[in-house]
């Protein structure tokens, strides 16, 4: 089988398309690259969706934690503590367990036990907590002058938050948030490794790397390939976040931008 054929049969294997049977003998490098790459689809899926949804929830949590009302502050504080204080490994376990019990309550909850939705929810909650802490820290360090100036102009409530506080908060939080995004993508490898079962041999990149290591008895080929893909992915994330960072800092003099970047900010 030529490499083109391999790509045709296995490029979307992780989604269930193409050849049903995984290669079983005479493993080629091409098969390694294709299948592990196919698995990366899931890592990107989890990472992108969890970051997008988690971003919104994290903002809400950060504002709640900063609130004067006990009723808003306490739940946010506990949520953040619970998810930042426990290993993702254990969160996956309890997530899967909870979803299984819910399934008994009503068939409505059936999709939750699948990795595609269940693991996404756990990752979403996890990244929300970590991001919320970063945003909260940034919110606390917004220069007093900015807020006073907004008050002087008569800005209040949502408008003041949207126009003055939010952009500054993002600007301050961005380097640390970039780190969080990288970590989240790395954390997606835990989904099939310890949390959710793999159906019909549809798994993520680590699942296929593991498959090859198991079949070829040689860990030194599949895992470095996996590492290669993740280094590429990390570079892409850094690039995208860098572009956004530039936009966030567009209005500042260049020296100030530099100063912001080196803030040894909260990393995850």
């Amino acid at each position: 089988m030529s490499c083109i054929d391999t790509i045709q049969s296995y490029a979307f294997r992780s989604l269930g398309f193409g050849e049903r049977m995984l290669p079983r003998t005479d493993f080629t490098l091409c098969e390694h690259f294709t299948l592990i790459g196919s698995g990366m689809i899931w890592n990107v899926y989890y990472g992108v969706l969890a970051i997008l949804t988690g971003f919104l929830f994290a903002n809400l949590l950060a504002v709640a934690k900063n609130s004067n009302s006990r009723w808003a502050r306490k739940p946010a504080e506990w949520f953040i503590f619970l998810f930042r204080g426990s290993p993702l490994f254990i969160q996956f376990f309890f997530g899967y367990f909870l979803f299984l019990s819910l399934k008994g309550v009503s068939p409505m909850f059936n999709p939750l036990t699948s990795a595609a939705l269940g693991a996404l929810i756990v990752l979403f909650l996890n990244t929300s907590a970590y991001s919320a802490e970063i945003f909260y820290g940034a919110l606390r360090s917004i220069p007093k002058g900015d807020v006073e100036a907004a008050d002087a102009y008569g800005f209040t409530g949502w408008f003041r938050f949207r126009r003055i506080m939010f952009p500054t908060m993002m600007r301050l939080a961005w380097p640390a948030y970039t780190n969080e995004a990288i970590f989240l993508f790395h954390a997606t490898t835990l989904v099939f490794f310890s949390g959710f079962p793999a159906w019909r041999q549809k798994g993520d990149a680590l699942y296929y790397a593991n498959y090859f290591a198991d079949k070829t008895f040689n860990p030194f080929v599949p895992y470095p390939i996996l590492a290669f893909y993740f280094i590429l992915l990390t570079l892409v994330i850094i690039w995208i976040f860098g572009v956004i960072n530039k936009r966030l800092n567009k209005h500042l003099p260049q020296a100030a931008v530099k100063k912001l970047k080196i803030r040894p900010n909260l990393i995850r």
Partner: protein
């Protein structure tokens, strides 16, 4: 929900179970036949089996590993950060490459092959030194063969030597991964030390080396602390991956103890109790995180004293107002 005391425990006991659990350490005298016990006495026996003792001991292993890994990783981080700032280009590339590559790879993927690579690397080096006359290839197919005296540890060494060696390999692997993150934080912290402080040092006639060790080094910690604190928190939460490195950690035992047990192979059969064991782990991690937070907050306060930061400034003002 899971039944805490399954009712079939006593009735379905298999005759051979008594023989197979040869060495049951009876902490309490009444534990010699758990099948007749119930409720609290049963639980007290169950929770003091040798296996549970190993589970409790593994908490110690994890704490010890954290205690050893943190300073080691810091050392690696310091090395990485210094290399990344070096004037010598090759060293700088090495430092930056180390930070970028290790940070770019998920820690699980790294753990899955790096330990074996490390172990084989060490043995290969020893092999080159100790058995120069060896003619056969070290790699035969997928087998890795070195001469007997190059093995690490020697295959004739007692088990505890193997255990200690495995522990140190785990420490080293963790230190390399977390060293890269620490290097990133320390690199940022070194840049964050206010320029005027360094310029003052130069004005006093200090050489670059003296400036680095006498001014930059002591001053950067306050800037590095937030990042390092977070790194510590991440390190705590990475310990469930220890079992990948061959250390039998708390997750390994919790999984094994919690899995449902039939009466044939244990004197304490039970259903799927993983939830309870994982709950215990959850509590452990939350408590540990909380304690770490409190301690780190204290250290921050202590380090801020006399620093040119907002916190240091407010401490100075408060101290002034009370006198």
């Amino acid at each position: 929900m899971l039944p805490l005391f399954p009712t079939w425990r006593a009735t379905l006991r298999h005759p051979s179970a008594l023989e197979t659990t040869r060495k049951r350490p009876a902490i309490f005298a009444y534990c010699s036949d758990p099948s007749v016990l119930d409720g609290l006495p049963w639980l007290s026996c169950y929770l003091t089996t040798g296996k549970h003792m190993a589970f409790y001991a593994s908490f110690g292993t994890v704490l010890l590993l954290l205690a050893v890994t943190a300073p080691t990783a810091l050392l690696f981080g310091l090395g990485g950060a210094m290399a990344a700032r070096a004037r010598f280009a090759l060293l700088r590339w090495f430092g930056k490459g180390y930070i970028a590559i290790v940070r770019g790879v998920p820690d699980i993927a790294f753990f899955l092959f790096f330990v074996i690579a490390l172990d084989q690397g060490i043995e290969w080096l020893r092999h080159k030194v100790k058995c120069p006359d060896w003619t056969e290839p070290v790699r035969q197919g997928s087998e890795f063969l070195v001469c007997d005296i190059a093995k690490m540890p020697l295959s004739s060494s007692p088990q505890w030597v193997h255990e200690v060696y495995g522990f140190w390999v785990a420490v080293f692997t963790f230190a390399i991964v977390f060293g890269a993150f620490a290097a990133n934080v320390l690199f940022g912290a070194m840049q964050a030390v206010p320029r005027p402080q360094l310029e003052t040092a130069e004005a006093y006639g200090m050489s670059p080396r003296q400036t680095f060790w006498r001014v930059l080094m002591p001053q950067m910690w306050i800037y590095a602390l937030p990042g390092l604190s977070n790194l510590w928190m991440v390190l705590i939460k990475a310990t469930p991956l220890l079992f990948l490195l061959g250390v039998e950690d708390i997750v390994y035992w919790a999984r094994d103890l919690g899995a449902s047990k039939t009466a044939r192979f244990t004197a304490y059969p039970h259903g799927d109790w993983r939830m309870w064991y994982f709950l215990a782990l959850l509590v452990f991690y939350l408590l540990f995180t909380r304690v770490s937070e409190v301690v780190l907050a204290r250290i921050t306060k202590r380090l801020s004293r006399g620093q040119a930061t907002l916190d240091g400034e407010s401490q100075r003002k408060n101290a002034g107002s009370t006198t």
